[in-house]
């Protein structure tokens, strides 16, 4: 890792952390409503991964999507504005927490496990167009038990698709720990006939190096590979879950103090004289400012107009009428 890389990873992880904490705050002020799943604790996964693939590669994940939305190039203000349901949000305010998108980033999927077969389809397109691109397909430890995942493993291996399947194992699917949900918690082995890697998902460099290996494997035409990233979510499952009744406060505290991804990187950089504590503090200040500005934007940007209710249901050259709640109400819909 070079100094520049280290500083960049640090800043990106810190931005995601601060963004999530800001979202938490906005939620508690009832400015963000509904379902909201935060990513703090798991920052090394998206940052390490992104450092090992190209922007032209493809990525799809579940609803815990804020971190990836940022690493795929969406600015914080558009993410927060999506959370507050404003017009400048990255999905025009129509998606909310679970549904965010960017170029080569296919979301943001609310139905647990449903994104995994899509990932294989995207990988087929990569192979078909012969552009040396790959698809990174993410899912959780809970999602790993859905039947669709196994159907997809079979197709991907059968057709040697350039797909990295990544199980972000944060030890819980809602309130259920992995031991209570899975006959085998060796998620990296659950592809059976697909090779698998188990990786420390709290260490951004481990994630980066493993992903480089996996991406090379895929680009070499050897077919799919499974990666289990062992990580942890600090927040509860969603904003309505305090996250402390199915796990102990001590457990959370222990992860925070011993394996926090940002602290790990920071210590590594300082100990190896790649950066000084002061320098990193400066980055923190810069990040805080960016987040504050973004929050200001996300709370003052206007809401989308009501006409948006009927738009984007179908592709249509000519606007058509959406049937409303009774025979007298109609909405114009444009594609």
């Amino acid at each position: 890792m070079t100094r520049e890389q280290g500083l960049q990873y640090y800043k990106t992880m810190q931005t995601i952390r601060r963004m999530e904490l800001k979202a938490d705050q906005l939620y508690k002020q009832k400015i963000i409503r509904g379902f909201c799943h935060l990513y703090d604790g798991q920052e090394a996964c998206c940052v390490g991964l992104e450092a090992a693939i190209n922007r032209t590669d493809h990525l799809i994940t579940a609803y815990r999507a804020h971190g990836f939305t940022y690493t795929r190039g969406i600015p914080v203000r558009e993410i927060l504005a999506e959370l507050t349901g404003r017009i400048s949000g990255c999905a025009k305010g129509k998606g909310g927490s679970m549904h965010m998108y960017a170029k080569n980033f296919y979301g943001g999927n609310g139905i647990v496990g449903a994104q995994v077969p899509l990932g294989a389809g995207i990988a087929l397109a990569c192979k078909y167009f012969g552009k040396d691109e790959i698809c990174v397909t993410l899912y959780g430890d809970g999602a790993a038990n859905q039947g669709q995942i196994f159907e997809t493993f079979n197709m991907a291996a059968l057709w040697k698709l350039p797909c990295i399947f990544i199980c972000e194992n944060n030890r819980y699917g809602m309130g259920t720990s992995v031991e209570r949900a899975a006959a085998s918690t060796d998620y990296y082995k659950r592809g059976d006939f697909i090779p698998g890697l188990r990786v420390d998902g709290m260490d951004v460099l481990a994630v980066r190096e493993a992903t480089k290996f996996a991406a090379d494997h895929c680009r070499a035409g050897k077919g799919p590979i499974v990666m289990e990233l062992q990580t942890y979510r600090y927040h509860g499952h969603s904003m309505s879950d305090p996250g402390v009744s199915y796990r102990t406060r001590e457990e959370i505290q222990e992860v925070r103090s011993k394996s926090d991804p940002i602290t790990l990187l920071k210590d590594r950089m300082v100990n190896n004289n790649l950066a000084s504590v002061e320098e990193l503090k400066e980055i923190d200040v810069e990040v805080r400012k960016e987040i504050e500005d973004a929050a200001q934007f996300a709370t003052t940007d206007p809401e989308p107009p009501l006409e948006e209710l009927g738009n984007h249901i179908y592709y249509k050259e000519a606007p058509f009428e959406v049937r409303g709640p009774n025979q007298w109400t109609r909405y114009k819909s444009v594609g």
């Binding site: 909310g96 259920t176 949900a181 309505s240 879950d241 009744s245 809401e303 007298w328």
Partner: protein, 371 residues
């Protein structure tokens, strides 16, 4: 997703707070209905104050006590479930009777069919009605057709699937759906939606006892908001029987679940503002539905309004409308009117506009009278 609560008392409390912000200062988010409790029933013995999730727990408790073959399973149910409906049951009945499944809806329902085909009683929870679709094949192709295709040799009639249903406030696309019409298209199933705690308990116990696979949709916005005096002992409320909640002479209003409370308010408004007398019917069972009660009413009033949250096209109101048109053509004084959700996905920030609230229903009544 998910409300998430999980097993935890505090989680669930805040979960519901998130959803049911009736008293919240932001008026825009106020609930679109006022729950109107049913009178305390006298025929089933002692009653207790219960909200909707507690009355569900009470029904499940009765079922597990009475029937040693009954088991309950689903995502996070052993800690009480996201909406607290199974709180305490694992401790009371043991972890071999109340247990968590992995996250796999198709597996959950298929597994339930397997339990039921042996004659045991299977009560499956799908965490949200929105997540029932991975199990759609098992429900439609396996559960519904088992009896028919085996010439009555096999069936899974002792299977009941429960799922939280309908809008909740800020639920957006995947925590708000009302998928009853999909299942209403499937002979062999029964589909039931209660309007409150007393009804929920009696109807759920009927579903559990019924010899056909039943889907029981629970209006999740009412879990905490709806409180009634609910009998402690088990009792059954018959399936496929609608109930006339108020007699009237000018317009028949038909709904189920949360919308029943909306039409109750509409009836009051129509009486006060227009001098129009409404007959209110809670359909309760969507499949097979009570054609007779509805048609008798329309024959008398000559006008019918049906309302549901699901999108208008292909919603269950269309089925009711066309049946009533066949049966009551000459009685009709105005076109049958549906007041439903828009033909859009359930929207995120536009929920207050999407809901078929009392104003939209009232407006429809007015137009029907002036037709």
């Amino acid at each position: 997703m998910a409300l998430a609560g999980l097993g935890l008392r505090r989680a669930a409390v805040s979960t519901l707070r998130l959803s049911l912000t009736t008293g919240s200062p932001s008026r825009r988010r106020a609930a679109h209905f006022t729950f109107q409790p049913d009178p305390e029933p006298t025929q089933y013995g002692q009653t207790q104050k219960m909200n909707l999730f507690q009355s569900i727990t009470s029904a499940l408790d009765n079922a597990l006590s009475r029937d040693p073959t009954a088991v309950i399973f689903g995502e996070d149910v052993s800690f009480g479930g996201v909406f607290r409906c199974t709180v305490g049951l694992r401790d009371k009945f043991g972890k071999d009777r109340v247990f968590n499944t992995p996250l796999c809806e198709q597996g959950i329902v298929g597994f339930g069919i397997g339990i039921a085909v042996t004659g045991a009683t299977a009560i499956a929870e799908i965490q949200f009605a929105d997540y029932i679709y991975p199990a759609f094949d098992q429900i439609v192709n396996e559960a519904a057709k088992y009896r028919y295709r085996s010439g009555d040799l096999f069936n899974c009639g002792s299977l009941t699937i429960r799922a939280p249903w309908g809008c909740v406030g800020h639920g957006a696309l995947y925590h708000s759906q009302s998928p009853e019409a999909f299942f209403a298209h499937c002979p062999g199933l029964k589909v039931v939606v209660p309007r409150g705690p007393i009804e929920a308990k009696g109807l759920l116990l009927s579903c559990i006892e019924d010899k056909n696979p039943c889907i029981f949709f629970e209006p999740k916005i009412m879990y905490r908001a709806a409180v009634e005096q609910v009998p402690v002992d088990p009792y059954c409320i018959p399936l496929s029987q609608a109930e006339v909640l108020q007699d009237g002479s000018d317009v028949t209003l038909v709904a189920w679940g949360t919308q029943v409370h909306v039409i109750k308010e509409v009836a009051v408004m129509a009486q006060e503002k227009l001098g129009v007398s409404c007959e209110i019917i809670d359909l309760k069972t969507i499949l097979p539905w009570d054609v007779e009660t509805v048609c008798k009413s329309v024959a008398k009033t000559g006008r019918l309004l049906i309302t549901h949250e699901a999108p208008v096209t292909g919603g269950f109101a269309s089925e009711i409308s066309s049946t009533v048109q066949e049966e009551c053509f000459l009685n009709l004084e105005a076109p049958i009117t549906r007041v439903c959700g828009y033909d859009t996905p359930f929207p995120h920030i536009f929920e207050p506009f999407y809901i078929p609230d009392k104003w939209k229903c009232y407006d429809a009544v007015r137009k029907m009278i002036n037709y």
